[in-house]
């Protein structure tokens, strides 16, 4: 703790707010790069970055770089201010690779120029968005509409390799993401990622129209699989900003539901991965077992998904003895059945061969990109928000963090498998130790311009929400950062040098909320002729023949 403070002060950072959970550090533009480098060397990794238009307050724009320092159990928020007439901040991407996307995003939505950024391209706004219109500036109305401009699509061509676009749209389950994969024969020689096709403008909506108690329900709809963790993460960010203590019983109920969500999300992932490997029997069995978890969620909260259980200050509904019994019974069955399933699957050599030593992400690259969750733990990095920054009831509970050093898909698989059983163990403790008492703090004051950081360990990794409060129970700035945001940039690293047939399992191994039956067009690079159009699975079957 003292060490990290010394590092900050030696590099001209000024600690403005010292909270149990985070440090707010102000730093001038000249010193930000050096301070970021020093913090990275001290063991902090880049979590996320948030741009904010603070002209109504003081006439400045601000960039907040949020770094996660596990050793001191704190988030370090670096605040860099820049006046409106000189919107330039030195980029820290050359020092920490992970800042790449966050800085590009801040440029897209606010127009802050990051000097020295290696890849200053548009990231989150669509290609037909007009230049010079910045949607998150406060003078842009939340319901304003802009006229799209037509733009020629760029297609990166490579002489040495065949270009294989993967994505971006599939009409059913999967989310639109786009990977451009360069192949030389069967081997992948490079990959490029493009996403953000479904940017929904939640942040602007929250700042423009919603109140503090309405945003949890919007936050819950960020993800269809791990929505509750976003809800809790937002609530924690606001609670940290206003200094609110949540009743202990509410903390336990939150923990219980977060773990239920983790179990169902991980079993869902196993189903998807078995499906991607062409092993549909395993997929059916995994999802059959998952149904029991969904049923217990339904018993506990009323609905299978979108539990709607939390607000700032606690939880909305209580849990009685009868529900506890039913949940425990269901989870005991799940535990037994999943154990059998894992034993059966890993006894099959053909499954093991498909995931062992495939999709390598070395530990040092993982650290500099800033990957989180099972992807990081599969690369030998011992990181888990539940241990590093304890929230909800995790500080009272006993659990292990599985870490594997294989750096491959199998390691990520094993991390998730172990986590299911840890989660079941956690739920047993929660139901056993849950204290009585209130579940909600109803009355509290919301101060103006108070900064809060909240973090949870989502099934896919560290989820961070950043909040600046505003008068009248509103938020001035809200920025959710889902774990896949940090994990996706690692996919091109994993894909390099692998066989094309392994691409679905590798992309799927980070659990990116979309699987790889996305439509594929294989284009012959020299003639530009379309050779094949269909789903990726079909393409792979054809290639194999």
């Amino acid at each position: 703790m003292q060490d990290i403070k010394r590092v900050i002060e030696e590099n001209n950072g000024k600690i403005v707010v010292e909270h149990d959970y985070f440090l707010l550090v102000e730093v001038s533009r000249e010193h930000v790069r050096k301070l970021a480098r020093a913090l990275f060397e001290a063991g902090a990794y880049y979590s996320t970055g948030v741009g904010s238009d603070e002209r109504p307050k003081n006439g400045f724009f601000a960039m907040y770089h949020i770094l996660n320092h596990e050793e001191s159990k704190k988030y370090i928020v670096l605040k860099v201010e820049t006046p409106e007439h000189d919107l330039r901040i030195p980029s820290i991407t050359p020092e920490i690779e992970g800042a790449n996307w966050a800085e590009r995003e801040a440029h897209d939505v606010l127009g802050i120029v990051f000097e020295g950024h290696p890849e200053p391209e548009r990231l989150i706004l669509p290609d037909d968005w007009p230049e010079g219109v910045y949607p998150l500036r406060k003078d842009f109305k939340y319901n304003e509409k802009v006229k799209p401009v037509r733009k020629e699509e760029k297609f990166v061509e490579r002489e040495d390799a065949l270009v294989l676009p993967l994505g971006p749209f599939h009409p059913t389950l999967h989310e639109p993401e786009y990977f451009e994969i360069y192949v030389d024969g069967e081997t992948i020689v490079g990959a490029r990622y493009k996403g953000f096709f479904v940017h929904r403008g939640l942040e602007k909506l929250a700042e423009g129209r919603l109140t503090i108690h309405q945003i949890p329900f919007v936050a819950e709809r960020i993800c269809g699989i791990c929505g509750y963790t976003h809800m809790i993460c937002y609530c924690q960010a606001v609670e940290n900003a206003i200094g609110l203590e949540v009743p202990e019983r509410a903390e336990y109920i939150r923990t219980l539901l977060l773990e239920i969500e983790r179990i169902h999300s991980h079993i869902l992932w196993f189903g998807v991965v078995y499906h991607l490997l062409g092993f549909d029997t395993g997929f059916m069995h995994a999802w059959r077992i998952r149904e029991k978890v969904m049923d217990s969620a339904e018993i506990l909260t009323g609905n299978r998904k979108t539990y709607g259980m939390s607000l700032v200050g606690g939880v909305r509904r209580d849990i009685d003895e009868d529900k506890k019994e039913k949940t425990l019974k269901a989870l005991r069955e799940v535990s037994q059945e999943m154990k059998n399933l894992f034993d059966d699957v890993l006894a099959m050599k053909e499954i093991l061969n498909r995931i062992e030593d495939v999709g390598i992400l070395p530990k040092d690259r993982a650290r500099s990109i800033g990957v989180v969750g099972p992807v990081a733990r599969g690369s030998g990095i011992n990181t888990d928000v539940r241990k590093d920054h304890p929230y909800a009831a995790y500080k009272y509970l006993d659990f292990k963090v599985p870490v594997y050093n294989g750096c491959d898909v199998l390691s990520r698989y094993l991390v998730r498998a172990d986590e299911i059983f840890e989660s079941i163990y956690l739920i047993e403790q929660v139901l056993d130790q849950m204290p009585g008492g209130d579940i909600m703090v109803e009355r509290f004051e919301v101060p103006e311009f108070s900064v809060g950081v909240g973090a949870t360990e989502a099934p896919r990794g560290e989820d961070v929400h950043f909040v600046i409060t505003h008068r009248g129970s509103k938020v001035y700035r809200w920025r959710p950062r889902a774990p896949t945001y940090n994990n996706l940039p690692s996919v091109p690293v994993m894909l390099e040098g692998e066989h094309l047939a392994d691409a679905p399992a590798i992309i799927g191994s980070i659990d990116p909320c979309f699987s790889c039956t996305d439509h594929v067009t294989i284009v012959d690079d020299s003639t530009g002729k379309i050779l094949f159009r269909g789903s990726l699975e079909d393409a792979i079957r054809r290639l194999k023949r």
């Binding site: 709809r221 029997t281 609905n303 979108t306 709607g308 006894a347």
Partner: protein, 171 residues
């Protein structure tokens, strides 16, 4: 070995797919389904409209005709149940109904129309009668005459009273 056990597992499990819609599906006791508003109970305070995250509940005052129209549109509803929590008289409740598919969009609207009271001083429409009645009976202890006035008249009258009171004290 794994393969054999898996085969046994498959054979030992009966079909798990539910027969729904041919058979009814069990609904848990806390299920949050279609919200229903009871027009008899509703007092038109619009607390539900203020807390509704997706703007599914909206209200509109018609100052010409003297009505407040409260509208629930299920097309926007996210079934969070905040309206049920906030309603002071229990007029809006989430039912267990979930089969909301309809061929007509009109089926997704529920409308409550309530008569507005007139300000006793200037005759302008203010809030629904029922709301005033509720506040008279259950509301916080305030001067009852304030409820019968529109906001402008209320502030004028309060200023007047304060002025007279101050003069009396002065004398």
């Amino acid at each position: 070995m794994g393969r054999l056990r898996m085969l046994i597992d498959s054979l030992s499990h009966p079909r798990v797919t539910e027969k729904y819609p041919y058979e009814p599906i069990p609904i848990p006791e806390d299920f949050r389904g279609k919200p229903e508003i009871d027009p008899e109970k509703c007092i038109g305070c619009a607390a539900c409209a203020r807390v509704c995250p997706p703007n599914a509940i909206t209200f509109r005052d018609d100052h010409e005709q003297g009505y407040r129209v409260l509208q629930v549109f299920l097309g926007r509803c996210i079934f969070c149940g905040r309206c049920q929590d906030s309603c002071p008289v229990g007029a809006i409740k989430l039912t267990k109904e979930f089969e909301l598919v309809s061929l007509s969009k009109d089926d997704l609207y529920q409308v409550v129309k309530l008569e507005l009271a007139k300000c006793v001083r200037c005759g302008k429409y203010t809030v629904p009668y029922r709301y005033i009645k509720y506040l008279m009976e259950k509301g916080p202890k305030i001067l009852k005459y304030e409820l019968l006035l529109c906001p402008e008249c209320k502030s004028e009258v309060t200023t007047l009273i304060k002025y007279h009171y101050a003069q009396e004290v002065h004398e």
